[in-house]
Amino acid sequence: MKIPSPMQQKREAIAPFILLLIIAPLLISMFYQFRHRYLYAACGILFGYVLQRHKLCFTAGLRDIFLLKSFTLTRAILLLLGLSTIAFALITEVSSKEFNMLVHPFGVNTLLGGLLFGIGMVVAGGCATGVLVRVGEGYQMQIFAFIGLLLGSLVGAYHYSLWVQENVKLVVNLQEYMGTLNALLVQMVIILALYFLCLYLEKGKRIFSLQQLKKQFSGNKAKNQYFKGAIYLSIINALFLYILLSPISITTGLTYFTGGIYEKLGGTVEGITFFDTGESLLLSPSIIFVFSIILGSFISSYTHREFRFRKVRSIKYIYMGMLGGFLMGYSARIAMGCNFGGFVNAVASMSLHGWVLGLSLLVGTFIGSKLLLKLIM
């Protein structure tokens, strides 16, 4: 093992102080009516930091079911899903504030969007969120995936009304449909059932012995990293909703950013429903949030001696990154969200479209995995 130089050790010691500086204003803001843009940056940095530090990867969580028969990350994501659902229900019930939850209609657009997104994220080596984190770690492939993501989201925004306005009207808000408590119970039963299904598929009959189950949750330190990460991420997710009044979404910020740049370059976004926000696109705080994720990931990887510029092994990866990114950008618009805003936080918002997207994402990931093996093995 190479012994870290004093300079490198210093870097590692600095990380907790950076985090403290970021967390303090967030905590203060919880007790005051205070919604500054800085808070978007703070949440974004923490979000990126946790994802990088704990290696929490949504793509691997779905893809490795098919490629490695591994369900560990899948369970970590289900933990995030369950905790966020509980947190969102509590926050919206207890607080008297008005929340802007992610409840959207669904239809063919959701199915097709999830399918394309699933393929895109496997081919690009990361979902929209994952690409941001990888860019912060210096991966050349995902820098190109990021460019593809931006371009795809612009085209997707142009096609948004084509897909969504005409055909899609079915909105199911489980919370309104059956009451918060019932909706919460139904969702938790489904999530728990999926969790134990994954555990069973991974461990077999061993999980029915209490001793084995205990061992599962104590022993493997590396594995526990994922679950710790999922818990931290749920806390950030809840904090963001409570302070900033709407759940985290990723691709919205990316799309506003591309639209804003396109406008600056002389393009016109007038008449495009998605860009009809009434204010300058580039001033949207959601843009601050997504770019802060890159910064948070960089801080985490740099302070822990993991950052380096990672050149691709073959030029093929650059094309795959671009293509996968474009697919994700486009499909996230027509499906009204990526795997975070369209699936995790949509489910936590108790909207049925989240479950529909989750299902089609799984199918898309399966197709993507087959495609990946063809492309590179």
Binding site: M1, K2, Q8, Q52, K55, C57, T59, A60, R63, D64, L67, L68, K69, S70, T72, G125, G126, E137, G138, M141, N220, A222, K223, Q225, Y226, S301, R305, E306, F307, R308, R310, K311, V312, R313, S314, Y317, M320, I376, M377
Partner: protein, 74 residues
């Protein structure tokens, strides 16, 4: 000399898939060294081989952002 896979610049999850293929060819007691610059690899490779196959793994840092993971086939 241990068997060596250079997986620098590979995308996820190719390092694991290549290691799995290579380990299949090795005899018991032989070791495989996987060099990777993928930051997720340490956790995912060790998880995969220790859990699924019970192969002991250890890793060293070669350079900032590059690691060598040694997997022993048992």
């Amino acid at each position: 000399m241990d068997n060596f896979i250079d997986a620098l610049g590979e995308m996820c999850p190719i390092p694991i898939l290549r290691a799995e293929k290579e380990l299949g060819k090795l005899k018991k007691g032989e070791k495989l060294v996987l060099e990777t610059d993928h930051s997720c690899s340490i956790q995912s490779v060790i998880n995969h081989f220790e859990d699924k196959y019970n192969y002991p793994c250890k890793y060293i840092e070669v350079e900032e952002g590059i690691w060598q993971i040694t997997i022993e086939k048992v």
